[in-house]
Amino acid sequence: MADLHFLANPARFRRFSQRVLPSLAFATVLMLAVGLYMALIQSPPDYQQGDTVRIMFVHVPSAWLAMAGYALLAGLGASLLIWRHPLAALMARASAPVGAGFCAVCLLTGALWGRPMWGAYWVWDARLTSMLLLFFLYLGHIALSRAYDEPERGDRAAAILALVGVINLPIIKFSVDWWNTLHQPASVARLGGPSIHPSILIPLLWMAATLFLLFVLLVLLRTDTEIDRRRLENAELQA
């Protein structure tokens, strides 16, 4: 947040992002190339799941980023409502679709993975369901921030929603976990949690770092665009 304080002024942010973006983009592409090599070629197929295990290298980091993204939205919402940082609104507007995108990637890769593994695209497992609800929270945020003529009103309404949503996320997660354990689900094959072999763990962490960079890159790019658009609209209005 301290950094955001410094960057709260859109113009200053603009100068900062212009300086950082090229190298960030370069780093992302480079890491992606290496990561894809590690994930698709170097790492061994799983003895149980075969090559489908490679979906995991995208699936798991997407899940992490989707969850982190909502926390980011809440933080931005707070800084908009409390400190009235103009940049926070633009950044929230820019990052919500990115977070929703990673959430969708997690759901889609999970569904594609589920077909060979569980014989169904979708089962009502607790983890899947809470991810789906997170996706809905994202959708609500995006829809609300666009539902007004005056973008400022949408920004503030969405900020309130993000704050309430982030308080509720643990409650939702808890209740869904509880819900599913009550009705014994059709038992789900899953990799043992922590006992992942290093040959898989290293590419996984690498891909997580890569996708994190991608997330940052997309948010910065989209924030830039939002600043431009807001300026253009204001210029039109003044005319």
Binding site: D149, E150, E233, N234, L237, Q238
Partner: protein, 205 residues
């Protein structure tokens, strides 16, 4: 120190990204009326809403008896009587019920005799038991004006109070306004017509 109850300094407002007015300053003393005039879209309604803290001004300050009103917004709101473009009446409630409900919403105890005199002031007794939905435009406006009188607030904020009123209702309004001013009240009214009550004028451009 402050000799004027209401002091507005350097107020600036934007709507939808457009600057509506800026560096607007004025003071208003007890018993004074300020008429806001200006072309359509010059910002009269916006100014009234900013004074009521319904719109957040971009810059400037509003002081009541030397204190910034934003420090204690609830006390400030207690000092205001509001009449907007929209009357704020419930069509399903009768005239009397609407007035009583509005009073109770302000936390004031319902006062039957005050209600009666407010109704009489605007010639409303024959309509008191009618649902507002069945009133004509001017009858609704009169009901809203009766609510303003009932409020007993020191500062009236009125947006085009004469709209839709017939001649007798207009003079009833003038009488009520004069009484309010004579009792030391303040009033700010946006208008296109002549209010017919002596007062200062602020022209928005």
């Amino acid at each position: 120190m402050a000799s004027f109850p209401l002091e507005v300094a350097d107020l600036a407002c934007r709507r939808g990204g457009r600057k509506v007015f800026e560096r607007l300053s004025f003071t208003l003393g007890s018993g004074e009326l300020l008429a806001l005039v200006g072309r359509n879209g010059s910002g009269k309604t916006t100014l009234l809403r900013a004074l009521a803290l319904l719109v957040r001004p971009e810059a400037g300050s509003i002081h009541w008896q030397g204190k910034d009103v934003r420090a204690e917004p609830e006390a400030w709101r207690g000092r205001l009587a509001w009449l907007g473009h929209l009357e704020g009446l419930k069509g399903d409630l009768t005239v009397a019920e609407n007035l009583l409900a509005a009073e109770r919403l302000r936390g004031a105890p319902p006062a039957e005799n005050r209600l009666d005199s407010a109704l009489v002031a605007f010639d409303l007794p024959p309509l008191a038991a009618r649902p507002v939905r069945t009133l004509s435009a001017g009858q609704r406006r009169r009901t809203a004006l009766a609510r303003v009188v009932l409020t007993q607030a020191p500062l009236w904020l009125l947006d085009e109070p004469l709209n839709a009123l017939d001649a007798p209702a207009q003079s009833a309004f003038r009488t009520a306004l004069k009484k309010h001013l004579a009792a030391g009240g303040l009033a700010i009214a946006a208008t296109h017509a002549d209010l017919g009550v002596p007062g200062r004028t602020l022209e928005l451009a």
